[in-house]
């Protein structure tokens, strides 16, 4: 009886933490809505926000700024942050490697290459305004197939996946460098901006795909929480517990790449969220993936929203690349983690 009560208290405290984080996120979103390049008083912002829900009147400029510019950007930051963090948490769990992230598996570099192909050479699978987005997405998926193909011969072990991922990352990075070398300076600028990632082009049209991809990848990955917990103890132990390691890795990798590709093709490569958020989550809620996955999503959303809000308001109207801000925000936490070296959070 005692053990049950302790366990219930343990899980309940984790849930409470997640609830607190959610509230924090909510208030940060409210703050982000009131901040921007144009100085709008909170009163104007709220009237503008509610003017579409209730029959309130608001001045047109504020309505445009709140509904067309700030709100899609905030929601995109939340979705993309959550999605990237989820991807990071999943691949760190699947590969048992604290450095695993969309970058180290080559997905981000491949997406960058696809985008550069579109931006520099105008080459793409499908033309029109979504040329760069579709290119980035397809190449990101291609990189996952490459990694899969390279590592399946070695039985999908975590080492082989990581090595294959690094090889693929370098392959696409060098190809992108060559494209950059060939590019006209003005096209080059476009490529550099894309590689740094940013949410300044956030529109409702870009929000929906990112939101839906994150939403649809979340439940299946959450269902793998117990498998991830088992995997954390080693491949042999997991197999002994009845986990189909090869299949979990395979499906997990596919979902991971869909998620990353779907987000990165719209936002450019924003680094660090996928790497740092799972670690922060583990510091708060421990190593149980039932909590780590949702908590990573919250941390990722928090981190990206905070970074983007700072990026667009610190020296407005100039925008600091959001990737720079995420690194600056994430690094102190990362170092803190390093100093503490609490091994119980990392098997």
């Amino acid at each position: 009886m005692g053990i049950e009560k302790v366990y219930l208290r343990y899980t309940r405290s984790k849930l409470l933490l997640i609830l607190i984080l959610s509230l924090l996120l909510f208030f940060l979103s409210l703050l982000a809505l009131s901040v921007g390049a144009v100085n709008l008083s909170p009163g104007r912002v709220w009237r503008a926000f509610f003017s579409r829900i209730f029959p309130l009147s608001s001045d047109h400029l504020s309505e445009v700024i709140v509904w067309e510019l700030r709100l899609p950007r905030i929601l995109l930051a939340l979705s993309a942050g959550a999605g990237l963090a989820l991807a990071g948490a999943v691949c760190q769990g699947l590969l048992r490697n604290p450095l695993a992230s969309p970058y180290t598996l080559g997905v981000s570099s491949a997406a960058g290459f696809g985008a550069s192909l579109g931006l520099v050479l105008g080459l793409g699978v499908y033309g029109g305004e979504y040329l760069v987005v579709i290119n980035a997405f397809l190449f990101a998926l291609l990189s996952t197939f490459l990694v899969w193909g390279l590592s399946i011969k070695k039985g999908m072990s975590s080492e082989s996946i990581i090595l294959a991922g690094i090889a693929v990352m370098y392959l696409f990075s060098s190809l992108t460098s060559i494209l950059q070398y060939m590019a006209e300076p003005r096209a080059l600028q476009g490529v550099v901006f894309w590689l740094m990632g940013g949410l300044y082009h956030a529109t409702w049209k870009r929000f929906f795909p990112v939101f839906f991809i994150t939403l649809f990848c979340f439940p299946p990955l959450l269902r793998y929480s117990w498998d991830l917990n088992a995997l954390a103890m080693g491949d042999e132990t997991a197999k002994g517990l009845g986990v189909n390691v090869g299949r979990v890795r395979g499906v997990g990798l596919v979902l991971f790449s869909l998620l990353t590709a779907g987000i990165v093709s719209f936002t450019g490569t924003i680094g660090f969220i996928g790497l740092v958020s799972p670690h922060l989550a583990r510091m708060l809620v421990g190593g149980d993936h039932r909590f780590v996955l949702p908590c990573s999503c919250l941390m990722g959303a928090l981190l990206l929203l905070a970074s983007d809000t700072l990026a667009r308001s610190l020296i407005a109207p100039t925008e600091i690349p959001v990737g720079a801000v995420t690194s600056l925000l994430g690094i102190p936490f990362f170092l803190h983690l390093l100093m503490k070296k609490r091994r119980e959070f990392w098997p």
Binding site: E4, E68, L71, M182, Q189, F208, F211
Partner: protein, 369 residues
């Protein structure tokens, strides 16, 4: 014993499912809320911010039809090449927002205006906040043309693409802006300035059989420019032969051996921002330019080059390599290439004339020697 264990397992399963339903419920509610926001944001039509009465339809440099209000009263300028033209036309009072480069280039004309981001990275909120009628940028991705059109045109803000960094388009762009801003006389005068100079130089070099062989270098060591670039355009317009014209890449980095083998007649160097942070405009003595020249001629093996021995290595400051200033660079280049042919050409006074058009103060040192 077994019964208690069964109870415990049942309790655990109930707990697990309760937690799972709780999480699923929470996520579902969140998802519905976000979707609702999205629906409200996406579905409602936004009324335009500006609705003009008189309209003039033109074709801009992107090839698209643009309907501009008449008269134009509020302009946001995202690129400095158009900023130059606006000042030359005397229309700078119509500008309500600029990019940082425009502000810097045309200082002090736009010093009091708010900054709204650059052509490649515009700040949509800042632009919308100013409620302009027209936004002037470059065409294509470099001017964020598509994004600007998608986001600002539904609000009634017009996007005008002016590629005034391309020398061949400058007279057309001048006339286009003159037409739009009802400054046709000023536009004719300014466009004529360019056309007359270009024609003069072209007439004199067109008959030449032995063109001067030129190696032109950019900011980076050994980075030259091939066909289709501005530097190539300048060298060719001045009657020179760009040795790197046929290279497969726009801005190839060549090997030093290639330069020694080609042995150019004249060497032109574009001195970059690292050597001249304020540009030639800020210089009161030629020392920084001379330093660049010094580094150039002391490169290993360069002592053997014809251009070095005959003293035909020239350094030109970076702020002359762009926009309307290209015409001045062409004049300098023509004079460097064919000193006898262009003995009567005075590039520095031409430069003064150009700056005068813009209504700015002339000054600074731009070339060495």
């Amino acid at each position: 014993m077994f019964h208690m264990k069964q109870q415990r397992i049942k309790g655990e399963i109930r707990e697990k499912t309760k937690m799972k339903t709780n999480t699923v419920g929470l996520v579902a509610v969140l998802a519905v809320l976000l979707l609702l926001l999205g629906y409200l944001g996406y579905s409602r039509e936004t009324r335009t911010l500006v609705s003009p009465e008189n309209v003039l339809t033109v074709i801009d440099d992107s090839g698209k039809l643009v309907r501009l209000p008449q008269p134009v009263r509020k302009i946001v300028v995202l690129q400095s090449d158009a900023g130059e033209i606006l000042c030359a036309l005397g229309a700078e009072n119509l500008v309500i927002g600029v990019s940082p480069t425009t502000k810097q280039k045309m200082a002090p004309k736009f010093d009091n205006l708010p900054e709204v981001g650059s052509s490649s990275s515009p700040n949509y909120e800042a632009i919308v906040g100013l409620q302009p009628e027209v936004v002037i940028t470059y065409s294509g991705k470099v001017g964020s043309e598509e994004e600007l059109r998608k986001r600002l045109e539904p609000l009634g803000i017009k996007i005008l693409c002016v590629d005034a960094y391309k020398l061949e388009l400058i007279p057309r762009d001048i006339r286009l802006l003159g037409l739009v801003l009802r400054k046709e006389n000023e536009a004719e005068k300014y466009a004529g300035f360019f056309e007359n100079l270009l024609k003069l130089i072209e007439n004199r070099v067109s008959g030449l059989e032995n063109r001067v062989r030129v190696y032109v270098e950019g900011h980076k060591d050994y980075q030259t420019a091939s066909y289709g670039t501005m530097a190539h355009g300048i060298v060719t317009a001045a009657g020179g032969l760009n040795l790197a014209a046929g290279e497969p890449v726009s801005y190839p980095i060549v090997s030093p051996e290639w330069v020694l083998q080609k042995d150019p007649d004249v060497i032109l160097k574009n001195a970059g921002k690292s050597a001249l942070p304020g540009g030639g405009r800020a210089l009161t003595n030629p020392e920084p330019l001379r330093k660049v020249w010094e580094t150039l001629v002391s490169r290993p093996g360069w002592g053997e080059l014809k251009a070095v021995k005959e003293n035909r290595v020239y350094v030109i400051a970076w702020d002359l390599w762009g926009g309307g200033s290209q015409i001045v660079t062409i004049c300098y280049a023509a004079k460097f290439f064919y000193p006898q042919l262009f003995g009567d050409l005075d590039p520095s006074s031409i430069h003064r004339e150009l700056v005068n058009f813009w209504g700015l103060e002339s000054g600074g040192i731009y070339t060495y020697p």
